[in-house]
Chain length 358, copies 2
Amino acid sequence: ARSYNITLLPGDGIGPEVVAVAKDVLSLAGALEGVELRFQEKLVGGSAFDATGVPLPDETLDAAKGSDAVLLGAIGGYKWDNNEKHLKPETGLLQLRAGLGVFANLRPAAVLPQLVDASTLKKEVAEGVDIMVVRELTGGIYFGKPRGFGTNDKGEDIGFNTEVYSASEIDRIARVAFEVARKRRGKLCSVDKANVLEASMLWRKRVTALASEFPDIELSHMYVDNAAMQLVRNPKQFDTIVTNNIFGDILSDEASMITGSIGMLPSASVGESGPGLFEPIHGSAPDIAGQDKANPLATILSAAMLLRYGLGEENAAKRIEAAVTETLNHGFRTGDIYSPGTTLVGCKQMGEEVLKTV
Amino acid sequence: ARSYNITLLPGDGIGPEVVAVAKDVLSLAGALEGVELRFQEKLVGGSAFDATGVPLPDETLDAAKGSDAVLLGAIGGYKWDNNEKHLKPETGLLQLRAGLGVFANLRPAAVLPQLVDASTLKKEVAEGVDIMVVRELTGGIYFGKPRGFGTNDKGEDIGFNTEVYSASEIDRIARVAFEVARKRRGKLCSVDKANVLEASMLWRKRVTALASEFPDIELSHMYVDNAAMQLVRNPKQFDTIVTNNIFGDILSDEASMITGSIGMLPSASVGESGPGLFEPIHGSAPDIAGQDKANPLATILSAAMLLRYGLGEENAAKRIEAAVTETLNHGFRTGDIYSPGTTLVGCKQMGEEVLKTV
Ligand SMILES: CC(C)[C@H](C(=O)O)[C@@H](O)C(=O)O
Ligand SMILES: CC(C)[C@H](C(=O)O)[C@@H](O)C(=O)O
């Protein structure tokens, strides 16, 4: 039997609840496809800070690097909001992404037919939306140097960051995006601010140059402000979007809210080699943590992405996705996606319903 | 009689059409309130580049600086998209903003009862939305140095920009935003990415410190990715938003699309002293330029903002706003906001209808 080591990073807030459920689903789907999954659980984020004094202990990063794939719950919470920068839960997550070299963040935002009413957009606008945002994840203003605090020539305090991209950083994310578009509907929209920013001008130049290697892909370019509008005006115009780290942060969240069900949305972060990082796009939701109210489907679907993109176990991935669809068809809903006429369940029961159909 | 000098900058694409209409409305509203307006027209953007070789001729900036207020149409077009950076129409606009020192960009996004169906959001979500985005306009990554192109230590091409804010830059825009919120519903949401960026950490610190001067204002903070989501999920939660230049670029466009009628939305950019710059938020729409199809209402409403914020002529401003409302109530619509049962008119006729009711 094929066997893999999975690092589980439950993290903070609702993270432990949703990861526990996803782990069971992952095990079962694997077992049914002859795949043995071995799990080790490590600390990250605020809980790691509380236990060890840092948001990403070396032990966690080493374990993650040494495994075949990493499944993360969520990090952060009010409790740690005033931590110094290098001790914030978010910093732990950024160190993990950088440490694993997972430069390509794939964020699907699809409106499920069962949940079209959950969108705040009109039905005819939301129906059929199926977008994949490919976000650069280990470069740009998140990591650029110099950064920090200082004083300007008037002696005033300043805070500064550097948005920077190199040709190879752009090429490798663009390549991933072209490949992703090829497996989808063949349309790629590159989003930048090339009318103002030099970093974006280089971005556009490199993406444009790469297009000749992908003659079957229809490439377009859009300014980020316009993209933010077009996602609201007519999201169906988009197939695959590729963009930098900060624009991707903003636009992928906007796109996911357009689906109306961010409790449903998974993400995959992959590098050139080494283990990928898989996580739901929702946050740690400290207000509902520990109450068995969280929607585990985003983490379960992240586990499916882990099987597909992280381990190449397509059959087990499909099994999970089909089980989620069936569970929704059976009418089970957590609070965030509940509507009259459906059956309200908690995090655990939702997990059990999915397990039944896996 | 009070008299003022207005610089008109028609710019490119539909700019000349909408500015011509707004000029007539401005003149009449002024005259009826005993205000004499004298106009001078200057070149900016692509048309300035074509005529003089630069997108902001000295003559234009000098005229603008020497006047009491500036009304701009729109700039840009495919024709100049491949201009070198310093010759792009957009660069002319940025030089104009910097030259006039208009650091505070006020962008209202309100859903008009007459046009609620134009929004792609469900009626119950869109109805009653009334947001003012206060965007920092002369700092941040748009202007930060160092910026440019270079090579990294591997000899690769890089493109880079600097996001930087000083304490005083943050304080002055925050002050404007607190004042604006005070004249509205008393709620201010400051948007940043303080969980990642040092520039945002300083932003949040200064805004928070200033709050003690405005105890009557309810201040909150939100990360930019979350703000992009919340604008889609529940835009009514927002009253006044204050944010940096690039986040403001993105979020104000998103907010304006939520209203469904960006052809209706004006903006005002003001500094500590000196003339303000007033412009519609829509672009130059080269595809419909010269066809008498453009919606002039955004520019007409920008003229109203010019009277209010630029000249302190509240009565004349109200006259224009009332005339626009009445014209909409009479059922006149340009193509972008047309719906069955209303009367389709061109740019000029829309102007004439507004003139009749001024
Ligand atoms: C928590 C935060 C650092 C993170 C980001 O900005 O990348 C989050 O918003 C995300 O998108 O995964
Ligand atoms: C044209 C462009 C430079 C400009 C900006 O990014 O500021 C525009 O998008 C705007 O918002 O006024």
